[in-house]
């Protein structure tokens, strides 16, 4: 039988889908019968949701159509280095 402390300890793993089989079942049952632990689980879930919202546009791998904060000077410098590298190959 899981204690609440053991449950709380595993909560992150459980939310990330890394607890499987019998252990996962134990966690699920425990959260079904223990209100405190269910609340803790939901709150950690809320933390994960909120933290994910701190991410800025790079969250998906969609192409960005605008020039973010890449300074013009940096871009030119890197492009030059890239060109140099590929001239060498020719």
């Amino acid at each position: 039988m899981l204690t609440c402390e053991e449950f709380a300890d595993k909560v992150s793993e459980y939310l990330d889908g890394n607890v499987v089989g019998g252990e996962r079942l134990s966690m699920w049952i425990h959260s079904a019968i223990c209100g405190h632990c269910r609340r803790y689980l939901n709150q950690i879930g809320a933390v994960v949701d909120l933290t994910a919202q701190l991410e800025t546009p790079d969250a998906t791998d969609q192409e960005r159509t605008c020039d973010a904060e890449l300074p013009e000077e940096t871009r030119e410098k890197l492009l030059e280095a890239f060109r140099d590298r590929h001239q060498r190959d020719r």
């Binding site: 809320a46 909120l50 969250a59 871009r75």
Partner: protein, 210 residues
């Protein structure tokens, strides 16, 4: 997420000297790289420098990239390794090769310490939060609390939660980039999340009195 085939095609374009592809790659990741570099170095100037060095290394090393991870992970790993090499030159840099003792101390900092009885039951159970999800101002405040708490976390917890929950890297990515064990990064992540939960609880418990 780019499929492996799409990524292979993209890499081939880069290796062929396609400048447009290269500019797209830089624009896509530069911002996130700088933000992550700020975890390792103290100011934006140093972070920009670190990221530029990273891009130069990407240009040079791309033909040796074996696609065992995604291109993004590989680029971030280069940056983390360069940051490690800077250890000692910059006061705030994490000295990752000697984090062991420092980190063990931190690992003993359990944010839920004292909340359980000896038999493992809750002695101080989690409090109920009053949250109105429709209220945008309220949500902004919560995000501020999360952000502030992350900034105050011990170094390694801050890095792991930023990579996992903010940037969306996988556990394997973190293990690869940070060169720590899986169980170690699990503990760090859980501690970080539990600390944020506790901070939100304090914030929401205080707000209730208003």
């Amino acid at each position: 997420m780019l499929s492996i085939e799409d990524e292979s095609t993209f890499i081939a374009q880069l290796l062929g000297g396609d400048e447009e592809a290269f500019v797209r790659l830089v624009e896509k990741h530069h911002d996130a790289l700088v933000r992550m570099a700020m975890i390792f170095v103290s100011d934006r100037g140093a972070a920009e420098e670190l990221v530029q060095e990273t891009w130069l290394a990407v240009i040079d090393g791309l033909e040796r990239f074996e696609q065992r991870s995604s291109l993004k992970t590989w680029i971030f790993a280069i940056m983390a390794n360069k940051a490690k090499k800077r250890a000692g030159r910059d006061a705030r840099t994490v000295n990752l090769s000697s984090f062991a003792e420092h980190d063990i101390e931190r690992m003993l900092d359990n944010p839920d310490e004292g909340r359980f009885s000896e038999r493992g039951h809750w002695s101080q159970p989690p409090l109920r939060w009053r949250i109105d999800p429709e209220e945008r101002l309220h949500k902004q405040q919560l995000l501020e609390v999360v952000k502030d708490t992350i900034e105050e976390l011990p170094e390694l917890q801050r890095i792991v939660i930023t990579m996992r929950d903010v940037q969306g890297f996988s556990a394997n990515d973190v293990v690869g980039v940070m060169e720590i064990s899986n169980s170690h990064q699990r503990v760090l992540l859980h501690r970080a999340r539990a600390t944020i939960r506790a901070a939100l609880e304090r914030h929401l418990a205080e707000s209730e009195r208003i």
